[in-house]
């Protein structure tokens, strides 16, 4: 299916091919005929790809937090204390004391330890405590929440747009059918006379 305006929206070739394939299917399913309808269908197919890309980024955001989640499971409070290592001058009072105790208790060593090894250790800690492996992903999800929140905001915009576009397209197609029906009934009436 040829793209309207001859523009390719996606720089990734596989996404572009998928968008064009979707455009063909949607145009057929929604019976889009006019230039405007085709452009709206093209937008809709692009939205499907964009939403999929953002969903994939959400999954990756969680995956990226797995090592941090594993460190948190091995040493609760790790992610609370460790980022402060870069700005120890800002830590005061009780926090500084707790931070010092945490670091001397192996916090720094844990930060340097290999990610795969830390994940294996965390999974073994979970198993020892009778918890499922998914708990690691759940902690990773919590740690990734600031990123996920931003991604979900973008997804929400695109979902809203997607729903509204489908609604508008169906309305336009319904209107088109009514016009055709009206025209054919008029022809029938005049033919009958």
């Amino acid at each position: 299916m040829r793209l309207m305006l001859g523009r390719s929206t996606f720089r990734n070739p596989s996404d572009q091919v998928e968008a064009e394939g979707l455009l063909g299917v949607l145009a057929r399913e929604l019976q889009a005929k006019s230039t405007l309808q085709m452009l709206l269908v093209q937008r809709l197919s692009g939205l499907f790809i964009e939403i999929r890309q953002l969903r994939s980024a959400v999954a990756t955001a969680v995956t990226l937090q797995r090592p941090a989640a594993a460190r948190e499971i091995i040493t609760p409070g790790f992610n609370h204390f460790y980022p402060a290592a870069a700005s120890t001058t800002q830590t005061v009072g009780a926090y500084e004391t707790a931070y010092g105790a945490f670091m001397s208790g192996g916090g720094e060593e844990l930060a340097k330890r290999d990610d795969a090894r830390v994940i294996a250790e965390a999974l073994s800690v979970l198993a020892t405590n009778g918890m499922r492996e998914e708990a690691l992903n759940e902690v990773a999800y919590i740690l990734a929440l600031p990123t996920i929140e931003r991604l979900e905001r973008l997804i929400a915009t695109k979902h809203g747009e997607e729903e509204a576009l489908i609604e508008q397209l169906l309305r336009m197609i319904d209107r088109q059918k009514r016009i055709i029906d009206l025209q054919s009934s008029k022809e029938l009436t005049s033919g009958g006379c």
Binding site: L5, R7, T9, F10, R11, N12, K33, S34, T35, L36, L39, L40, R43, G46, E50, Q53, L54, S56, A57, A59, T60, A61, T63, L64, T147, R150, L151, R153, L154, T157, K158, G160, E161, A164, Q168, M172, R175
Partner: protein, 141 residues
Amino acid sequence: MASERQKAANRANAKNSTGPKSPDGKRNAARNARRHGLSGKWATSRETLEARALAEAFCLDDCQLSFQDAVAIAAAVLRLQDVTRIAQEMVQFALQSVDDGVPPELREDLARISILRRLGPLDDYERRAFGSLRKHIRRIK
């Protein structure tokens, strides 16, 4: 603290570098602060021209559509396409900074996550353009 001699030297040196002189250089420097180009004058004037051409095609298909609404719909559709294209280009550009050690299947996602802060303003443009599209499409009787 700089001495009088150093200050004089700084002033003299500064006179040698007062920005681009050639038309090409000036054109390049004019784009220095450009982020996505969606709010620039050239973008809106180009959109207007393209929108009018597209609107004529809409009106040929649908005689009940007013030309004013058709132009607004076309402008919104073009703006939405631009927003998506720019967002995709930003991700492709960010891919260059992704560490080589990252698995291929995660690279694009990581690039997208790294520019999330810059994708936010594009989302605002998208919402506005879609709002306009919806408003004018609803007017079609």
